[in-house]
């Protein structure tokens, strides 16, 4: 990256393979990116592209098969036991299903205090004050609702409580795994605004994983597009959306359903189905559905090349883009 800052998170050639031998499925097939402090990196792609798996591998919820993950210089791979648990406090995750993210039998304020209780870093009165403060910040009145059970809240409220819980240890990196996908549009808007406000206040860095292009663009500074376990394009959101360099990104944007009756209907639709990850195409993985594919695409896997400042694409024939 052409940046003088040190990345907060450095991921190099991350691979996650399930199963063995002939039945091995490479869900993530060599993914590399940096996330800089204070920025939001959006990770977008369709089902099966490996974006959720990447997020879980970063948190070591799923074990990476190979590659390196460095958080502020400390490697996250190979850590075990107490060291791993310690490192985990620097990275937190928010999940897709708000209801199953919270223990239905626990009270809200205990859930938010749980990280503090695990580490006994803050106790007694200070702990209670901190918990109340967190709940207020996410829009849940601690005096009225702090004692209620998690099962009594709606999806949007549960997601707020999850956010409060994840901020208790002041993590450096927050991974949001499809966190608004299960919410209604109006609730989604509230949660996204809340996230932006808290990001500023807590100095967070975000990895925002989602499949909704509009949501990702709204939240992210930079966006990475994944297809079948690989990143095909990564760059600043506005530039990437306005002038995508990778054909897949262009199709993805074309398929995005705009709430506008005048938007051009029947954009060139991406035909066919994504190939099975059990047997990915040789060379460029997108070539089986790409209208521009040539023999070179079948023989040689495209490596990331820079097409503009901070904008990289893995394609032999990137679509021409304006230089900004």
């Amino acid at each position: 990256m052409s940046d003088n800052r040190q990345p907060l998170l450095k991921v190099r050639d991350l691979k996650v393979t399930f199963g063995k031998g002939r039945h091995a499925v490479s869900a993530v097939a060599g993914v590399s990116f940096d996330i800089f402090p204070g920025e939001t990196l959006g990770l977008v792609g369709e089902s099966g592209c490996g974006k959720s798996t990447t997020g879980k591998a970063l948190m070591r919820i799923i074990e990476p098969s190979s590659g390196s993950i460095e958080l502020e210089g400390t490697s996250l791979i190979g850590q075990k036991g107490r060291t791993l648990r310690n490192l985990r406090t620097h990275m937190q995750m928010i999940f897709q299903d708000p209801i199953s993210s919270l223990n239905p039998r626990r009270r809200v304020k205990d859930i938010v205090a749980e990280p503090l209780d695990c580490w006994k870093s803050v106790t007694g009165n200070e702990r209670d004050v901190l918990v109340s403060d967190l709940l207020s910040k996410v829009g849940i009145d601690p005096k009225v609702y702090g004692n209620r059970y998690a099962r009594q809240f709606s999806g949007g409220q549960c997601q707020r409580i999850s956010i409060a819980r994840s901020l208790a240890m002041r993590p450096k990196l927050l991974i949001c795994d499809e966190m608004v996908s299960a919410l209604d549009v109006s609730v989604q808007a509230q949660i996204l605004n809340l996230l932006e406000d808290l990001k500023d206040e807590y100095g967070l860095t975000l990895l925002f994983i989602a499949h909704d292009l509009a949501v990702v663009k709204n939240v992210s500074d930079r966006v990475a597009v994944m297809y079948l376990g690989k990143i095909c394009e990564i760059g600043p959101s506005d530039a990437l959306y306005e002038a995508p360099a990778h054909p897949y990104t262009k199709f993805l944007l074309g398929a995005a359903l705009e709430a506008d009756p005048d938007s051009p209907m029947h954009n060139q639709v991406l035909e066919g189905e994504p190939p099975s990850p059990l047997n990915p195409p040789s060379g460029c993985r997108f070539r089986t559905r790409c209208p521009n594919a040539t023999e070179k695409c079948a023989n040689e896997e495209p490596l990331p090349q820079e097409v503009a400042v901070g904008h990289q694409v893995s394609c032999h024939f990137p679509l021409t883009i304006k230089q900004k």
């Binding site: 310690n86 999940f95 919270l102 695990c118």
Partner: protein, 290 residues
Amino acid sequence: MSNAILIEQASIVEKPEKKAPLGPLFWICVGWIALNFLGAIFANVLPLQNPLYQDYASINAGPSLHHLFGTDDIGRDIFARIVFGSRVSIAVGFGAMVIGFGIGTPLGMLAAYRRGRFDTFMTAFMYILLAFPAIIATIAVLSFWTPRSLLKIIIVIGLASVPLVYRVIRTAALAVSTKDYIIAAKVQGATDRRILLKELLPNIAPIGVSFLLIGVATVIALEGTLAFLGLSVSPPTPSWGNMINESRTVLQDNPWLAIFPSLALCLFLLSLNFIGDRLRNHFDVTEVKL
């Protein structure tokens, strides 16, 4: 931002927390069980006839003021024997379940949480044990492990129930351990022990408790079966099963010897089952059903 939050709070409508009502019958059953417990504990100090005293003057007598439930074929007071007999049933029922759950629950929870090799081996082992009819195993062991005592019976039945408890707990724990909040707890840095106790256990407790009560009922009935085969506590110690067994030979002359212990057994089991069922309904935290 604060204005928007205040408006949000004003319209937070809590989902109606309507737990399935326990009902008066539930409490009647609880009362009955409690009564039996108290009877068992305080049998010695209660104004009862001596359960072992053989009053040859009144053999196979019907119920009277002196003998509330009558006497058996060697003159012993049935009522006293039932109260003292409840000790056996309760001890066997709850004692065996304590052993069964004490061993089966941690194993089941660990297997469901850890998965991997521990789960594979333990589950295979337990399923093999389950395939073997527990009753036959119990009968076989008790036939050979003499002299019989209450403690031995409790241990044998208790161990025999471990595979089933393991299966039930493991299944319940599996459903819970895939939920995101377990992953969230791990990600916060909680130790496995903390997760098992604070996150997993409370969520499988309702199923566990209601299964425990039903298990107690089953074991008590099992004791009755063993008594029928002459494998329960040795006479003259009274137990409900023993008494029913003894009544076989004198059924025509003295139906009370069969009726009262059977009633006691039936009512106790029914109450336990009912309580177990109601508790499970009550603690079911799924949505208010339409």
